[in-house]
Symmetry: C2
């Protein structure tokens, strides 16, 4: 094994904590430190020995960090940090606002190219592993249809929407794929599925004192964009139940390509994830791609790249010869 | 779209026919011709307009073929053709003798490097897409176990073994994954599974006149290496049933990675194929990788490579910008 790859973590929420855990499972990597806008002494890392530094000191680490993993949010943090840090470090991020990816790619690509850095953007599982499987499906079965289903999983955006409804004290929302729709797709029939047929939504809500359950329920299920196009079930629970039974972040889903190689022969390719912790899995993907970012930079491959640009072998701790012998 | 990629097919069995069908589904490719050791006039291609040439004339096509797809067998054809043709053309093949891949890789790499050609070896679904998913699983969840299940599918090697048993006139063998074993793996429990627990085998046999069914059955189920380690069921049928009900080549299987990102959280990643025609799907994979072979060669990436070395984006007819916008 070559030298250790030195990783820095920027931002320390659920995703940053997941990255700290994942680095410990990859023996070719060391964690150079967590960088935070909070007072470093206030941050409690998973492992006591993990160094914690002030975000303001990040520039001093250019010689001692090989890849920075950006763990901030796509709405406020990454649009600013991604382009700025790609001028100074090799980076990996999980920018996941699908509609803005082309614009974000361009904003990160220019500084990375100009400074000889490699920036892997939109890494994780969707965008990320699901995107790769949508691409493979289409390329291998050009005469076909791709279906993506999400869940069962906690949706952060929809949970936030529920919590903004007047009368709601706290709550969470789960997205559920329709088992019936999945079976129809697996049959190779290439059904046309409406939004309502593909997923259902389930909310667990704690009411504020004196709030009217019927009014709250109506406000949720009729909410345009978030719930109006789905069959939504609202369950009212107490705070204790919310805390004990809805404190995890499961997620997952399915990418299914159904296609024909000839009139007589249908073929179905399926990729699925069943995740007990969405942020920990996303973090684990970011860490594997940090290895690829380091190697691509060593090869002189500069600029912004996505999961589509990374050969599978670059993710593995094993050498190409070992991979051919053991995994092919 | 750039210029058309001109493909040549070497060998015309089920796989070669599948390649001919797949090229017709990829608008950026044209079929320059099929090359055969038979008399060209005796070969009946799927499409009347497909040119058929004698194998001996292949050298004359070096300037008019961009990528050759080698559709011969791994036992006798490829060990000879792979290295010889990699000196003259960019090639893609489905060499699938797992234990001999390192040796075959070296034999193809040297001539390809020496002549500035790109040779993609061991492409298909296993080796191929299953290998990629074993690699991704391991890289994303280093603390975990990978399981590969095959079937339900027709196994050529095991069907041949059945047909060699004295008293057997004709027959086929299907490999079946154990649904119970798959469920245990999906639960995240990381079970240790014996060969017998993972798969069962099912044979459909036509007896020669006067053969003793009990003797034949005993010879099959006790056959070392092929059947002795499995629970095998032998069904005796007549020739008409064999011809009408067992004339297809379905296959498929599952690659499942079960791992933990922390003590509290198990994660399961699954990739599966459900194929009505094994050779047509394998052919379709070869054709997508022919596009990648052409592009890698244009980039100056010479030598032997496997699916591990090919970035997903190289397989797609779409441009990188289009892929980011539509599929990420």
């Amino acid at each position: 094994m070559g030298k250790q790859i030195r990783i820095g973590i920027v931002g320390y929420g659920n995703l940053g904590r997941g990255v700290e855990a994942a680095i410990a499972k990859n023996p070719d990597m060391t964690l150079a430190g967590i960088f935070t806008r909070r007072a470093p002494a206030d941050l409690k890392p998973l492992f006591a020995q993990t160094p914690v530094h002030a975000m303001a000191s990040l520039n001093e680490f250019q010689q001692t960090i090989d890849v920075l993993i950006l763990c901030g949010g796509s709405k406020d943090d990454l649009p600013e940090q991604g382009p700025a840090l790609a001028a100074l470090f090799n980076t990996v991020d999980s920018f996941d606002t699908h509609a803005r990816i082309p614009e974000y790619f361009a904003a990160v690509d220019a500084p990375a190219q100009a400074h000889g850095k490699t920036a892997l953007i939109s890494i994780g599982w969707d965008p990320g592993m699901f995107s790769i499987n949508r691409l493979y499906g289409e390329a291998l079965l050009p005469d076909g249809v791709t279906y993506t289903f999400w869940g069962k999983g906690l949706s952060q955006g929809h949970s936030d929407a529920v919590r903004r409804v007047p009368g709601v004290k706290a709550g969470v929302q789960y997205t559920l794929p329709s088992p019936d729709a999945i079976e129809r797709v697996r049959s190779g029939a290439r059904p046309e599925l409406s939004t309502r047929e593909k997923h259902t939504r389930e909310c667990y809500v704690v009411l504020e004192e004196g709030a009217d359950a019927a009014v709250v329920e109506k406000a949720i299920v009729g909410m345009p964009h978030y719930f109006a196009d789905y069959d939504t079930r609202v369950n009212f629970i107490n705070e204790e139940t919310l805390r004990t039974e809805h404190n995890r972040m499961p997620h997952g889903g399915f990418v299914i390509r159904s296609g024909n190689t000839s009139e007589a022969h249908a073929q179905v390719v399926e990729y699925s994830l069943q995740l007990e912790s969405n942020p920990e899995f996303t973090a684990s993907v970011l860490v594997a791609y940090a290895r690829a970012a380091y190697r691509l930079n060593q090869q002189g491959q500069f600029g912004a790249k996505t999961a589509f640009d990374v050969a599978p072998g670059l993710l593995s701790i094993k050498s190409p010869a070992q991979l051919r012998e053991e995994l092919l």
